[in-house]
């Protein structure tokens, strides 16, 4: 029916699509974390990319000590994710909330997180060295379905990310803390009236977002390398995705992440990897000029 060339092309394209989906799912994790924090606490965290790497580095540190089987990764998640939660919680509670008393708190928070980002980036370089590190895949090997070839790694990343996203959504809608987070995002005054401790919710929100981005870091560091100085670039990417989807919009973040993940994969496939960044910037510029509030604007 189709010529052999076309068939091969379709297979290649499906590969690219899968890669795009798996990347996109991690971007979704990152975007959701960022949009959550910004929507609820209005704080902007420049160190976000360095938290992504923190997840990767925590995992890497554990791997030197433990084995590399699937069981190994379960341990990693059990140990690292709570650590990330703690880091995020402490950061909001001790570093950020004291700044909200000032009139120029937004800028001060940005300065503090920028300083923190530079601190962490250089700390990673000093502690872990400048060389790139990598994590072993959760699941090696490939899955063959008829003529289609998928790597288990991509599948695992996609599934785990999706799991994370679903857990996130469930938490927001079904747990008391989750509902409190939504309440604070929608109406802080109302939240106070109802007896919600806003400081604690801010800290919990920050902690949740740190877990999400760190989790994304662990996942993606299997496929790509951990680069100590990539914090800035990762933060910018998360930002572009979030801005494209609309700051504060969960649905927007999800949609944007997958669109960008897939778009990036195809642009890279057709034109070459370095053009992916250019495509991102064009997208960002376009967003700022045509529709600055992103796809789904401001909302919950």
């Amino acid at each position: 029916m189709f010529s052999e060339d076309t068939v091969l092309l379709l297979y290649e394209m499906s590969d690219v699509l899968i890669a795009g989906l798996s990347n996109g799912s991690v971007y979704a994790l990152m975007a959701l974390g960022m949009t959550l924090v910004y929507g609820v606490t209005k704080a902007f965290n420049f160190a976000y990319g360095d938290f992504f790497n923190m997840g990767g580095y925590f995992a890497w540190m554990l791997i030197i000590g433990l084995g590399l089987q699937f069981g190994g990764y379960v341990t990693i998640f059990i140990v690292v994710l709570p650590m990330l939660f703690g880091v995020g919680y402490a950061m909001e509670k001790f570093l950020i909330s004291p700044l909200r008393k000032r009139a120029d708190w937004e800028n001060r928070i940005m300065m503090l997180t920028l300083g923190l980002a530079l601190f962490l980036t250089n700390l990673y370089m000093v502690v872990f060295g400048v060389k790139l590190k990598s994590l072993p895949a959760i699941l090696d090997g490939i899955l063959e379905v008829g003529e289609f070839v998928f790597s288990y790694q991509d599948i695992m990343i996609f599934c785990l990310s999706l799991g994370g996203i679903l857990l996130f959504g469930w938490t927001l809608n079904n747990t008391r803390t989750g509902m409190a987070v939504r309440a604070v995002a929608q109406n802080p005054a109302g939240a106070k009236i109802v007896g919600i401790n806003i400081g604690r919710i801010f800290a919990a929100t920050f902690a949740i977002s740190t877990v999400m981005v760190g989790f994304g870091g662990i996942l993606l560091s299997q496929k790509l390398f951990i680069n100590p100085s990539s914090g800035g670039a990762i933060m910018v990417k998360a930002w572009v995705v979030t801005a494209f989807g609309g700051m504060g919009s969960i649905r927007g973040g999800l949609v944007a992440a997958f669109i960008i993940g897939i778009m990036e994969a195809f642009v890279g496939w057709i034109f070459g990897m370095s053009y992916g960044i250019i495509a991102l910037f064009i997208l960002l510029l376009g967003t700022l000029i045509i529709r600055p509030q992103g796809l789904m604007g401001k909302g919950e």
């Binding site: 008393k101 001060r108 940005m110 503090l112 530079l118 910018v236």
Partner: protein, 332 residues
């Protein structure tokens, strides 16, 4: 701060600077550091005005500095324009860039300006290193190595005749800082402060926050471009390594140490930090880590920097600084 206090502070700081060569004029190493102090004082002041006074969080300062430096150098090398004119032209080019960047993003919320200017910064390095850069004469990855020094009436201001060069740069730096002071204390500056307290009232007077912010953006980029050019012609070499992100933490420490939003503070801050940074160079790789940690510490512990302490000691109510006039109540 009142105009008189600001002017006095600037006068004293620069005055002391002007006298230092008497003590250390024969130590080129220290003289070089002093020149750096003077140059960074302008960059830090510009960034402080943008962030602390105009309330715009921008990553543009370093980018504009580099654009100013490269612009002037390229004009001098590839187009044989004499450095003095090249510097001035470069200032205008940089100001143009500032307006170009400012126009779309100043209307947007805080983080967006930061994002766009960060993008400009990130884009600058590959641009200068790559083909486009080579085409306009940036020297690519190797940078520029043969930038001619400033010469007036046949006299060359290089690092060999460090003392006259020092005084020239001191004058330029002082002029830039004074320009900033007049901009803040002008009719427009005071109006802008009124705007921050009550938009409706200011609007009724016909003052547009957007226009003022754009003007501040343009003026600070102009001054930063100029001092960037001066830097290039003083050092004679330029490379894209100047765009490393660590520079931001150093600049932030300067502003925070001086006092965010307390204008002349950044001048003192830059003097302190350049000196301190030299003292810290034995730390090697740990220096950058320390700088980052310092930023976090300063933002939390010393929110108004040295100027804050100074002002408290003077016991005067700093009505010129919006951040300082906010009372201690928590926002409910």
């Amino acid at each position: 701060m009142h105009l008189r206090q600001m002017a006095a502070f600037i006068g004293i700081s620069y005055g002391i600077m002007a006298l230092l060569p008497i003590l250390v004029g024969d130590i080129p190493f220290i003289m070089n550091i002093l020149v750096m102090c003077l140059i960074w004082a302008v960059v830090a002041s510009c960034w402080d005005v943008m962030m602390g006074f105009a309330g715009i969080f921008t990553f543009g300062q370093v980018a504009f500095f580099v654009i100013g430096a490269y612009g002037s150098a390229i004009l001098a090398i590839s187009h044989n324009i004499t450095p003095v004119i090249a510097i001035i032209l470069s200032g205008f080019i940089t100001a143009g860039m500032g307006v170009l960047v400012g126009l779309p993003c100043l209307r947007l919320a805080g983080p967006y300006v930061a994002l766009v200017t960060f993008g400009v910064h990130m884009a600058l390095q590959p641009l200068l290193k790559g083909e486009i850069g080579l085409a306009i004469g940036s020297g690519g990855a190797a940078g520029l190595l043969t930038i001619p020094p400033i010469s007036l009436f046949g006299y060359e201001f290089t690092s060999s005749n460090i003392i006259p060069t020092f005084y020239l740069i001191l004058l330029i730096s002082l002029a830039c800082v004074l320009a900033i002071m007049f901009m803040i204390k002008s009719h427009w500056g005071n109006a802008f402060l009124a705007l921050k307290d009550s938009e409706d009232f200011a609007m009724s007077l016909g003052i547009s926050a957007f226009k003022y912010k754009l003007m501040v953006f343009a003026v600070t980029s102009f001054l930063t471009g100029i001092i960037g050019g001066v830097y290039g012609h003083f050092y004679g070499v330029l490379s894209v390594r100047m765009l490393d992100l660590d520079l931001f933490s150093i600049l932030m420490v300067m502003i925070l140490a001086g006092g965010l939003g307390h204008f002349p503070g950044a001048v003192l801050g830059s003097f302190l930090v350049v000196a301190g940074s030299e003292l810290m160079s034995p730390l090697g790789a740990y220096r950058a880590v320390t700088m980052g940690a310092l930023v976090v510490f300063l933002v939390l512990a010393l929110p108004d920097g040295v100027m804050g302490i100074f002002l408290k000691w003077l016991n005067k109510d700093d009505s010129a600084n919006p951040a300082g006039s906010f009372s201690n109540g928590t926002i409910t």
